[in-house]
Amino acid sequence: MTSAIATYDLCKTYPVVERPWWKPGKPLRAAPAVDGLSLRIPAGQVTGLLGLNGAGKTTTIRMLATLLRPTSGRATVDDLDLVKDAREVRRRINMIAGGERMVYARLTARENLWYFGQLYDVPKAQLKARIAELLALVGLEHATDQRVERYSKGMRQRLSIARGLINRPAYLLLDEPTLGLDAPIARDLRAVVAELARDGVGVLLTSHYLAEVEQLCADIFVIAAGRLVARGTPAELTALAERRHTVEVTLAAPVDDVDHAVGTLAMRTGAQLTTGVDDELRPRYTLRHSADLAGELATTIVTAGGAITRLEVTPPTLEDAVIALADAAPEPSVVGS
């Protein structure tokens, strides 16, 4: 048995305009949201799914949660077919989405968890202890018997996280789980997610907080327009952001030899060179390259007789990579294993 969620050429097309019920037939128009996606989310690891808005992240997660049916392609959870074995798949997965709507406001935290424990058929002998354990995990022990309608947004989201763990899912689908959470609570959640992965849970995470993804994910899939455009570790993906190492140097005064030397350096290394002046009309050189050229640039300028007044290096980020990849052609660019 393969301990993983796997998708094979997964596609989802929403019928955008449907015929009225008295005119049965195919939808009049369709928009592909996910287009031939093949992913692997192994157990015991946090896997990231990144992309800009509308890339198809939520649709993918909702398909894996069995809330949406793929138009074509296939997905399995531990070799169970997502469509044919949906009921058994649902026992093994759970989903937590951002926002605080996913609990019952008129029930207390304990009652909410008890209710969902019943729906997931958590053994009676374990349910009470499981509820106490989860409430402690999300820091709601002090408000267990308070109606959720009295909770703050953060408390509701924490309860929603506890709900998502009630069935000890083998795979957890996290769709923007820290959306709207305060920094300390988001940090605690990241610790919980990391701990779950260490305990063998397979986690699929989408988030707009890329630092969060960088910190947690061993493997990241980047999608654009529903298609896979890159895959790799955070470092591998960051390296894909070509010419994103930015070195900016400001000189005390213009020197002709420096102009020539920096131009030669840019040509030799293939860096992108931009020249200009700052607010005080002092010459400024900006070099963009996949490698950090700060040292080489400084040496070149000083050797050519220039006096550096300011030097700033901006390393590439995962965000640069995601934006660059999303902007690029939709042909898959797979790196890493």
Binding site: L67, R90, R101, Y104, E111, F116, L119, Y120
Partner: protein
């Protein structure tokens, strides 16, 4: 089966915490029906003076019997309408965002809608049920052929009502535009099911429409068994029709759940509201 029972218990508990003792329930399920009953009774009371009405409609010969007839109608109607209300409430789960959590879980969908209807029925009607039993006992208006007919009447009311509620839940759960049913199944149902008037007084078309609703046959059994001392064979007709309607409604529920969930999975409408 064991899991389904746990789902039913959990859903009933949720209903209890959400609606038990709420002013809406007290007003819509007790005070409002009692006021409607009083209005109907005092509207019809002058008709008792009509010469010869007792021959055409024996119930109208005595005010107590007329009141018992109308009260039985109001009580049975309340059972059914409580389920319309419950289904309407259930459809709000789509808006509150909890509906997809139900469908994310491995719980039996049928058990969920069944439990929601059953839970609502108990929560909504226990108060009026106690009131009705006390009123019927005190007024001495009950005429029962055999003690077993109490059970027949109770089952003929409760089982079809639960099945009706299950069907409505499955209908409203997947449809964003079925709120009109709340209105359609209020006064029009009261009329076509013979809550206020005996079915024989209705035109054929209304009678035919009325017989398509289980409330009509439930009422016929309830009144026959508890007010007219009918035996089991005397209410066999409406009981048989109730059985057929229940089977159709169960089949309809199963189909609606299957079609509704498949459609929601195809269109992504589970999160739309």
């Amino acid at each position: 089966m064991r899991h389904a029972l746990r789902v039913i218990g959990a859903e009933a508990f949720k209903q209890h915490r959400r609606i038990f003792g709420g002013p809406l329930v007290v007003f819509s399920m007790l005070i409002w029906p009692v006021l409607q009953l009083a209005t109907t009774y005092y509207t019809m009371l002058p008709l008792l003076e009509t010469p010869g009405i007792g021959q055409r409609w024996p119930v109208a010969a005595e005010p107590v019997r007329l009141l018992a007839f109308l009260a039985a109608g109001a009580f049975a109607y309340m059972f059914y309408f409580s389920l319309v209300q419950s289904a309407w409430h259930f459809s709000f789960e789509r808006i509150s965002g909890t509906m997809e959590l139900l469908f994310l879980s491995p719980a039996s969908r049928f058990a969920l809608v069944l439990a929601n209807g059953t839970g609502a029925l108990v929560q909504n009607t226990w108060l009026a049920g106690c009131f009705a039993v006390a009123a019927a006992s005190a007024s001495g208006s009950l005429h029962v052929a055999h003690p077993g007919m109490y059970a027949v009447a109770a089952l003929a009311l409760v089982i079809p009502a639960v099945v009706w509620g299950t069907f409505l839940n499955s209908l409203l759960l997947f449809s964003r535009d079925s709120a009109f049913l709340y209105t359609l199944l209020d006064d029009p149902l009261w009329f076509v099911a013979g809550v206020r008037l005996p079915l024989f007084a209705m035109p054929f078309a209304i009678k035919a429409i009325g017989l398509a609703f289980p409330l009509t046959s439930s009422l016929a059994v309830l009144r026959g068994a508890l007010l007219d001392a009918e035996s089991l064979s005397g209410v066999a007709g409406p009981l048989g029709l109730l059985g057929i309607l229940c089977l159709l409604l169960v089949a309809g529920t199963a189909a609606l759940l299957r079609i509704g969930e498949a459609r929601a999975q195809r269109t992504g409408s589970m999160q739309l509201y």
